[in-house]
Amino acid sequence: MAERSFKKEVEHLRKGDGDVFTGEGILAITKALLENGVGYVGGYQGAPISHLMDVLADAQELLGELDVRFEANASEAAAAAMLAASVHYPIRGAVTFKGAVGVNVASDALANLSSSGVTGGALIIVGEDYGEGSSIMQERTHPFAMKSQFWLMDPRPNLPSIVKTVGDAFELSEASNTPVMMMVRIRACHVTGSFDTRDNKKPELSVRDALSEPRKDFQRVVLPPWSFVHEQDKVKNRWPAAEKFIVENKLNEMFGPSEAPLGIVCQGGMYNGVIRALQRVGLADIYGNTQVPIYCLNVTYPVVESEFQDFCADKDSILVVEEGAPEFIEQSLSTMVYRTGTPVKIHGKDFFPQAGELTGQVMLDSVTAYIKQVAPDMLTGRTRAPNTPKLDIPDLSKTLPVRPPSFCTGCPERPIFAGIKLAQNELGEHQIAGDIGCHLFASLPPFEIGGATMGYGLGPASNAAFDGGGEKRAISILGDGGFWHNGLSTSIGNMVYNKSDSVAVIVDNYYSAATGGQDLLSSRAFNETKATNNPIADAVKGIGVKWVRQIDRTYDVGKVRDTMREALTTDYDGPKVIVMSSECMLNRQRREKPKRNAAIKGGERVEVPRFGVDEDVCTGDHACMRLSGCPSLSLKTLDDPLRDDPVASIDQTCVGCGNCGEVADAAVLCPSFFRADVIHNPTGWDKRKADWRSKVITWLQSRRAARRLQFSGGAS
């Protein structure tokens, strides 16, 4: 089960003519797919498009009614490959994943798909994880469209525009026999707003019915000579068809006066930012009425030359607003005016920074600078020559702590890395490669385990150079998500075939946790529509790993350390795989808390554990912190002049996972930790026992107390 249930959102998907949807962009896209008669939907989860997958996964019933097939694909490559159904069959299909990483993985299938061309509308929805808060390398998805010749749409970031674009994309795809990618930036995926819904539409031909009348056409197969025919077809037929459709249906938008000496060409996704900048210099109002002409590219590839030349006709200069590097659009526009000798000056990255997100400040600065240079009279004197005194607000940049992402309270991965750290304390530092997933947080303090990461499921593969072994063995980390994504073959298979003498740790937390807790082949939960409960250890043995260890409770730090030691020191020189399994605490709490509270309300006997620290036993050396980093394990400054340093303290958010006690034990830290198990609705026997105990204990305590000095008040 995903991090939460989406039944409520699913209800939104049932809205029809005359209703209004209010919610997040990504959910609006999901609804739009159904309104446009999509026949099949797939994808691979990841911020910011996980929501689309999660909601559809919970919408099986509705999808059934509409004859829509939903596939939770094994990877982005699998998702893109699924679009093959639209090559021969007039069925609209849509898949989704995150850019640029997902597109990287999908690019093989995308290239083949683009070569074959499509009959039914093929839509790829990419959540561009770029800029602030991004968890991946900063790259653009744009060039994939250029190299494979599929079309790229980048709608204005508001719900009506995004929803309209879904429909436009399908039609554009069908009109030009080319797959279309709709790129939605992370903020646009999470942006909230409203749009008028339409009735959902069944696909004219369902994938189920398509199977009754199979179609094929060898001219679509990517083999010579047809591959060369495809190449020509792209530029001679598909491209012109696309341009025609884009112009006739006004997919790109013009705003502001038709005549002006200057103008702005921007990606659809940048439109709101441009308007805000113009608002701030007094050249636009809050409803987007602008004094500077704007040519808004909702289709960023291909750029329609005729439209662009018209826009430039009466202008001395234009500013291209394009996020990220390199500036592909600006370059192609420059080529156009260069070839035709149009007398318009093209600006862009000469005013904007070469790389990086176009934040509000960047946009304001660059747009202002441009206008100041080409049309200063448009600006108020104040903006032309700001005389605002510099505010002397203290610079906190040196003071504030960085907050790297880290494991949640009670995370089952924390004890794994505590155990590995302890093993390294004994055997010395090792070469460790990380992977994609929550476990990558281990590369940051306090654990600092794992150096580089080469991609999803590539942890062990990225250690291949060290497969031959040496004085010390290389260690690699791999999550269950990455394992099933492609780690089984690309990483583990690679280890087996190359007789790798290294160690792979597979972190199995029952979910694809980092992307929102989606189920996997190895999930323990029962899932109506998916086959779960396929143990990772079986798969690993299945492809020939002989040395496999399974740990079923990762909180046993001692066992983790000992198993690591064994793997690193054993004489066996083949691949060694340790599967460490415990459920993601975030999901476990979401599942168990309500049940537990209900049970307590219902009068059942329930034990609830929580950890604590004896503040007068703790000496404030913080050794436990360096092996934990748990959000609920924090510092507390005591009101005692004899104490120099703050002591450890565990707050109410502790879920009693046990890591603190296990670490204190395994690392022989200190006796400060205690676990308090609160028994709700104790039985009569519980009560009698407790009562009897406390009588004896209290007697003993008062006996000793009576023979010594009792201090109270003052510093304790």
Binding site: T22, A47, P48, G133, P157, N158, R187, H190, G193, G273, R276, V281, I286, G288, G360, Q361, D365, R382, T388, L391, I393, S397, T399, V402, R403, P405, S406, P446, G612, D614, T619, A623, M625, R626, L635, D639, L642, D644, G661, D665, F673, F674, R675, A676, D677, V678, I679, H680, R693, I697, L700, S702, R704, R708, L709, Q710, F711, G714, A715, S716
Partner: protein, 522 residues
């Protein structure tokens, strides 16, 4: 990032004056999303067009997150909203934690011309701060000061506490403070209705909301950072057998004869060692203190004696098995665990201790001579290790567990004969000898030597590491003594030693010393 020079002058953006811009900076997992939904819901219900965005992703896991909301009256068309906050262009900033409030200021979202800043003063301590062996906590003062300067209207309170006191979470108290600030043009009911529509934990949320609302309304002075902790003011009271009390009073009278500046610390130290062992032991403490005082003088404001009062007490009340067992079996400790865990009415509580005695601890309990012999023999140590060295879960609320600890704790009388005690005594005397050796020639240096005792803390490995740091720092004395800046260097070494676990910073500092002394030699 927080370059203010490019801010448009106030009012230059009159054309968008109607847009209200609100940014909420929080630590992932603080529930900024919930707050965002409430605000949106309120605005829409009040006939406003409203847009919210966030960049979730990995930041959700304890990173810094930003939720951004824009709203404007919906009646004259559809406004074009921005998807991210801009420097100098935010009307309301909500900081769900002190350092995140600071981050909002650093990023230029808080400006004197327009920004209402609602910040919670509580801390979510970052891992970098936690890992420091010494005190790594970032002092709050700077952020408080910056907030005073940057904000147009400032509401700064511990809204986490307000939430907890009302059995709710911080999103509710932040929402209340926002409503109370009057920064949004909506009536109180509008906010409360949003909470009700949300339908989760409504009662508690409304309580926290109300409390925070009043805080913001009454315009209570923004909280000032709590300064250095003071000795607790409440009077000490002592109970116990008459003869012990008599002995105690005697010792207290001795303290009263000490110089004024020393007395407070000496009283605390005395109490600590007497509580640790016995009245006689307390007398021993004062004897040692007297020796130090005899070499100290008014001229230096008795600084040396005051610090000695603190660190001799800590050295004499070292942490051993007996101490831990004693502490864990006291009635007062049972009460504190209850206060900490706060078990609900009608529930029972079981307490499990996590202990891991090593051979060193066990042998440390043997009589000094015998213990020393055992410790010298690897074979015997290995045997003891085999017998005792394993993690032990002790149910201190159960009869067997408690009984075991109770007996151990009762060995206080035996303690003074143990190997561990002998070792601690020897170490203590060597240390004080060093102090007395230098006090005449270099007073400041002697003070620093006293303070180095701070390096020794923790148990087992950590304790051993502390000892080695202590020795390494004082080991530098031979090179340093006689130098003008000897004291200053010992201080620097000590601070370096507290910076990281392995003492890398310390090694660096020691190398520096080595280098310049060589330089001097050459």
């Amino acid at each position: 990032m927080n370059d203010m020079s490019l801010l448009p002058e106030t009012g230059s953006d009159t054309t968008q004056g109607e847009v209200i811009k609100l940014a909420c900076l929080a630590v992932g997992g603080q529930g900024g999303g919930v707050l965002g939904n409430w605000i949106e819901d309120t605005a829409r219900a009040q006939g406003y067009a409203c847009q919210a965005t966030s960049v979730a992703g990995v930041a959700q896991r304890t990173g810094s997150t930003v939720y951004y909301i824009e709203m404007a009256p919906a009646d004259q068309g559809t406004p074009i909203f921005s998807l991210m906050p801009s420097q100098g262009d935010v009307d309301i900033v909500v900081g769900a934690e002190l350092m995140e409030t600071g981050r909002a200021i650093m990023r230029g979202f808080v400006t004197p011309d327009r920004t209402t800043l609602i910040g919670s003063t509580h801390r979510v301590i970052s891992i970098a701060e936690k890992m420091v062996p010494g005190n790594g906590e970032i002092p709050p003062d700077e952020v408080h000061a910056a907030a005073e300067i940057a904000a147009n209207k400032l509401i700064l309170h511990d809204l986490e506490k307000v939430a907890n006191d009302n059995g709710s979470v911080i999103s509710a108290s932040l929402f209340g403070a926002l409503a109370g600030s009057g920064a949004l043009p909506f009536p109180r009911e509008a906010f409360e209705d949003a909470i009700k529509r949300g339908g989760k934990g409504v009662e508690a949320s409304l309580r926290a909301f109300a409390a925070a609302y009043t805080l913001a309304q009454t315009g209570a002075e923004p909280e000032q950072p709590v300064s250095e902790e003071q000795p607790a003011s409440e009077p000490q009271s002592v109970e116990g057998p008459a003869e012990l009390r008599y002995g105690w009073e005697e010792l207290v009278r001795r303290v009263d004869t000490l110089p004024d500046p020393v007395q407070d610390m000496a009283r605390l130290g005395l109490r600590a060692v007497v509580d640790y062992q016995s009245v006689e032991y307390g007398a021993g403490y004062l004897d040692r203190l007297d020796k130090v005082q005899a070499r100290d003088s008014e001229a230096h404001g008795w600084e040396l004696t005051t610090d000695a009062a603190k660190y001799i007490a800590k050295a004499m009340a070292y942490d051993d098995v007996i101490r831990v067992a004693d502490l864990k079996t006291r009635g007062t400790r049972f009460d504190r665990v209850r206060d900490d865990v706060q078990p609900a009415k009608g529930t029972l509580m079981m307490v499990t201790e996590f202990m891991h005695p090593r051979a060193e601890e066990i042998v440390g309990l043997l009589p000094a001579r015998m213990g020393a012999r055992w410790e010298a023999s690897p074979k015997r140590m290995a045997l003891v290790d085999k017998l005792f060295n394993r993690g032990r879960r002790v149910r201190s609320d159960g009869l067997i567990g408690f009984g075991m600890l109770y007996v151990l704790g009762g060995l206080r009388g035996w303690r003074l004969r143990t190997l561990r005690h002998a070792q601690e005594q020897a170490h203590l005397d060597r240390w004080l000898a060093l102090v007395t050796q230098h006090v005449a020639t270099d007073y400041a240096l002697a003070v620093e030597i006293v303070r180095c005792r701070r390096l020794i803390k923790g148990y087992s490995d950590t304790h051993a590491r502390g000892h080695s740091k202590f020795d390494r720092v004082l080991g530098a004395l031979d090179t340093l003594k006689g130098r003008e800046d000897a004291a200053d260097w010992v201080r620097r070494l000590r601070e370096a030693a507290l910076q990281d676990e392995q003492g890398e910073a310390l090694d660096g500092a020691l190398q520096t010393i080595a280098s310049f002394t060589e330089g001097a030699a050459a």
